[in-house]
Symmetry: C2
Subunit: 183 residues, 2 copies
DNA sequence: CCCGAAGTGGAGGAAGTCCTCCGCATGTGG
DNA sequence: CCACATGCGGAGGACTTCCTCCACTTCGGG
């Protein structure tokens, strides 16, 4: 498993591809052509395929970043263990998800990312525990419920179809209200 | 605007296409080929295109059915004006949406369906009014919030990606909890 | 029963996407 | 500074999907 590092220019190109992919997928959906991604990155198609053998590999790389960002947000929220961390984590993480890189969320359960997902899972568990201990969250809420919220929010955001005054932040607050203990 | 009715066999084919389209889109997503729809319906491609000039027209026809179903559910819920109608409407409508025809929901705000959408809007308004009057729903909830819920639920349902113990019914209950007045 | 209007199927051209191949360019260790 | 491993671009073949066209079939009113 000796992997020598990429040549410096190649590494830079890799980043440009990732960033372009996030933008393109964000704008035109996950089905957008990789040729478009290449053009946007100012790079040949071959470069995209050389670095990321498949569309999935590309998305996984984006998702890895996203997981890292989530985890960082969760750590920050855990720093103030007064029961408000959970809500602030959910709100901030949702903002991160609204970013172009958030498009990768659809791959959530990719097997290749199990380790990072597990890490994030632990943080969410901790946040839930803290919130429950302070009585700011119902006892029966699970990490999967939180995951469901993020997935749901992505759905709302991607559906801003013309007419709709559909605001994902509004749905977010509805969910947060649902997490709090009844009376 | 004289439109003579379809010949009997043509009308039957139209229904078969609609039903096949619902199944195919449900299984393979809205991007599935219309050729597949035709094959599934046991009909030539030309028949699909003759009856529905575009993929959108096809989806609109499906959505029209869906709106009618929603409206019927809402009417049933309104029959018992004891404050519980809203919740039972949301639950039942969600089940309808889990049906293959529910795949059309993505088109929600198609201009062509304004009249039906308006009809449904009125019913939801009434359900909300009843629930608020009985104190089973927060005063600040709007019809758009409900629409947001349905869109969110579609997102969760379509994301059942392998791993996930993601259950849309669970997210539904979370939302319903969020609708109720705080303490 | 008959005949014209209405409907039908599937071939096939246009367009888009995927991904590989290979001759040329460029960074880097010695 | 040089050699060569590493990386690069874009042409192009295989494939998929879209949608039209037209010769043939079927329905149904008189």
């Amino acid at each position: 498993m000796e992997v020598r590092p990429l040549r410096r220019d190649a590494a830079a190109n890799r980043e440009r591809v990732l960033s372009a992919a996030a933008d393109v997928f964000h704008e035109r959906g996950l089905a957008a052509g990789l040729d478009d991604v290449a053009r946007r990155a100012g790079v040949g198609v071959a470069t995209v395929y050389r670095r990321f053998p498949s569309r999935e590999a590309l998305l996984e790389a984006l998702l890895a970043d996203l997981f890292d960002a989530y985890t960082a947000v969760a750590d920050a929220a855990l720093a103030q263990p007064d029961g408000t961390g959970l809500a602030s984590y959910v709100r901030t993480a949702s903002e991160v998800q609204a970013t172009p890189r958030g498009c990768a969320l659809r791959l959530w359960s990719s097997p290749a990312l199990e380790p990072r997902r597990e890490l994030l899972h632990q943080r969410m568990e901790a946040l839930l525990g803290d919130a429950k201990a302070h009585g700011t969250c119902r006892d029966d809420v699970t990490v999967d419920d939180l995951v469901g919220m993020f997935v749901a929010l992505r759905g709302v955001r991607e559906s801003l179809t013309a007419t709709a005054a559909l605001d994902w932040r509004r749905h977010l607050e509805l969910c947060l209200a649902g997490l709090r203990p009844a009376s």
